[in-house]
Amino acid sequence: MTTTQHLIRFLLLAGFAMLIVYLFRTGDMTLFIAPKMELLVKLSAIGLYAAAIYQLYAALKARRKSHAADCDCDHQHSSSRTKNIFVYSLFILPLTLGFLTPTGTLGSALAAKKGMSFTGNEMISRSATETSSDPVSLSTKGSSGNNNDNTLDELFPYDEYTVDHARLAKQLYEQPLIVVPEGRFIETLTALDLYRDAFMGKEIEISGFIYREEEMGEDRMAISRFAMNCCSADALPYGLLTTWPKANEYAEDDWVKGTGKLSISNYMGNEILTVELTKIERIPAPASPYVYPDLEFGF
């Protein structure tokens, strides 16, 4: 391998290491990967730096020995040039994109492709609980407390799989205004959808970006967030359908905070949990546009 090739490799490796540092410095890293991955990515930057330094060292060494290198390996230079250009430009592409183009956030365009969920986590959906065995029996057995608890348990029947969501739902139910928190965005939407009958008419506040489908018409839109597990390739959009008379004044991907009453509306043949907005305001996009599943939820 020639000095030039070692130098190119040095530049590429150092480039990737610097891209990682750059993205952490500008705070844009949160757009690409979840917080739990950050340490690993930082460590990989160190690995890349080490490899870069090795390439520099090898380049210097190859230069000293360049007369020897001429004899045995120049036969492949001409034939491999096309391949090398192809390979190295592949490595240059993400570097160029990362350093030179401004980073936006994932928004409606991708949400439409990935498929918006209006019901929280589909694993713990109402259909799932309806089919599971006799949800009420467990809860009535469990409640030997006072009257208040009994009525709450009747409102929020649970089985072994929905016990955590039932507990969250009870907490939410006691709040005069339910603010959908960033930390438990999906869990909260799931609990609301699961026990939607109990929450009818409750006040709720939710922030997110505007997402719209054609079928929503002029007075409906969704307020939504992307939920990410590891990286944005696995991010999925979750949101709540809302109604607002002048919904078309808000463009897709505008960030808003909406307050309103929970109800049900019919959307594309399904009964969907809906917020009838009474107040809506624009807000600046948050530092991290994503929400993350709460890994401690239920543990």
Partner: protein, 360 residues
């Protein structure tokens, strides 16, 4: 080296064409329109974020795999590997299937390690079993699947068992019928007598030109000082980084394009027909190429749309064979073997998940 270009270029082009055909068939749009879709600002943002995030997420794992593989190369002799491997193919295959529990690497990190192990004398079928089962049968993936499918834990168990059974069956078949080395270059330079097609041979040629006392034979290995061992490790690691990296980048690029362009609604159209649901979920897993530690959450988001059988097919097939790692596999294994592996895995996945669907 020119042949290497064709080796990468031809399959890549073929896959590109297939994608175009898929787009034309599903959206009835011209390819030119697909390019417009990519160049529109919102889609460009999605593409950029997805592309870079896949690369960043894969980096730690691929680096870990490369480092592990380089350390194996420099510090573990072929003799040690040979002694550790069971003689009996059945025992070997079972060990290969469970190796992931002790060395939980994800699919991107695994390919360099397996290639190294096979070159160092591990029977190829055991390596392939590890390659197939490892990304699934490991504690990290089990816990993430368990978490994603909290309401139906049987999915997590079924995923582990199905993956293990499929990998072991493929391993047994290969141990009976695969006589030649499955690695791309092994037969090659023997046949042609030319060393330069192959990077490792290049490394050998160039490394000793670089005056470093080289460590490939055991005598040097014993004499080698720490410094030259480190240097040799780094040399192998950075060589492999570029070799594996190019496939990772092509995979990430195409995955990001597909995710940006193809909508889920196109895909969900297939859900109703059980005949289509299985191949569809497997094709979807193949296209998405997400790491096996997070794919369970994606699968969970399809619950309710799909039956457990197709979901399981997604969870089992995806980590074994996907777009990104097929490209990486092609860098390592002969094309025939890769095609055979994909076909066998697909057939066995359908069979295993159909059985699981009946049991669950």
């Amino acid at each position: 080296m020119r042949t290497t270009l064709f080796r990468i270029g031809t399959p890549a082009l073929a896959i590109g064409c297939l994608i175009m055909i898929f787009l034309i068939a599903t959206n009835r749009e011209l390819p030119a329109v697909a390019w417009n879709v990519i160049l529109n600002p919102a889609n460009f943002q999605s593409f950029k974020i997805l592309f870079i995030s896949i690369i960043l997420e894969a980096f730690p794992f691929i680096l870990l795999g490369i480092l592990f593989s380089a350390l194996l190369q420099v510090f573990v002799t072929d003799e040690m590997i040979r002694r550790m491997m069971p003689r009996n193919p059945v025992a070997g295959v079972l060990v290969g299937g469970l190796l992931g529990i002790f060395f939980p690497l994800c699919e991107c990190g695994m390919i360099p390690v397996v290639r190294r192990l096979i070159r160092k004398g591990m029977p190829a079928y055991i390596g392939i079993v590890y390659l197939l089962a490892g990304p699934i049968v490991n504690p990290i993936v089990f816990s993430s699947t368990f978490m994603a499918f909290r309401t139906s834990p049987e999915i997590a168990y079924a995923r582990m068992i199905a993956a293990f059974v499929i990998a072991v069956l493929i391993g047994l078949l290969l141990s009976r019928f695969m006589k030649q080395s499955p690695l791309r270059t092994d037969g090659r330079h023997a046949a042609k007598g030319v060393a330069h097609f192959h990077h490792e041979n290049n490394v050998r040629v160039h490394d000793h030109l670089q005056s470093n006392p080289h460590l490939h034979n055991t005598i040097d290995f014993k004499k080698g000082r720490i410094r030259s061992k480190i240097s040799s490790t780094m040399s192998h690691a950075s060589e492999e980084f570029f070799e594996m990296g190019q496939y990772l980048l092509i995979g990430a690029l195409l995955t990001a394009v597909i995710q940006t362009v193809v909508g889920r609604d196109v895909l969900v159209g297939f859900a109703g027909e059980p005949m289509f649901a299985y191949p569809f979920m497997m094709a979807f897993a193949f296209i998405l190429s997400i790491c096996s530690t997070s794919d369970a959450f994606i699968a969970a988001s399809f619950n309710g749309i799909f039956q457990p059988g197709p979901l399981l097919a997604f969870l089992v097939f995806g980590p074994m064979v996907d777009f990104k790692n097929t490209l990486m596999l092609m860098s390592t294994f002969k094309l025939r073997i890769v095609a055979l592996l994909i076909a066998l895995t697909a057939v066995l996945t359908v069979a295993a998940t159909l059985i699981a669907e009946v049991i669950l």
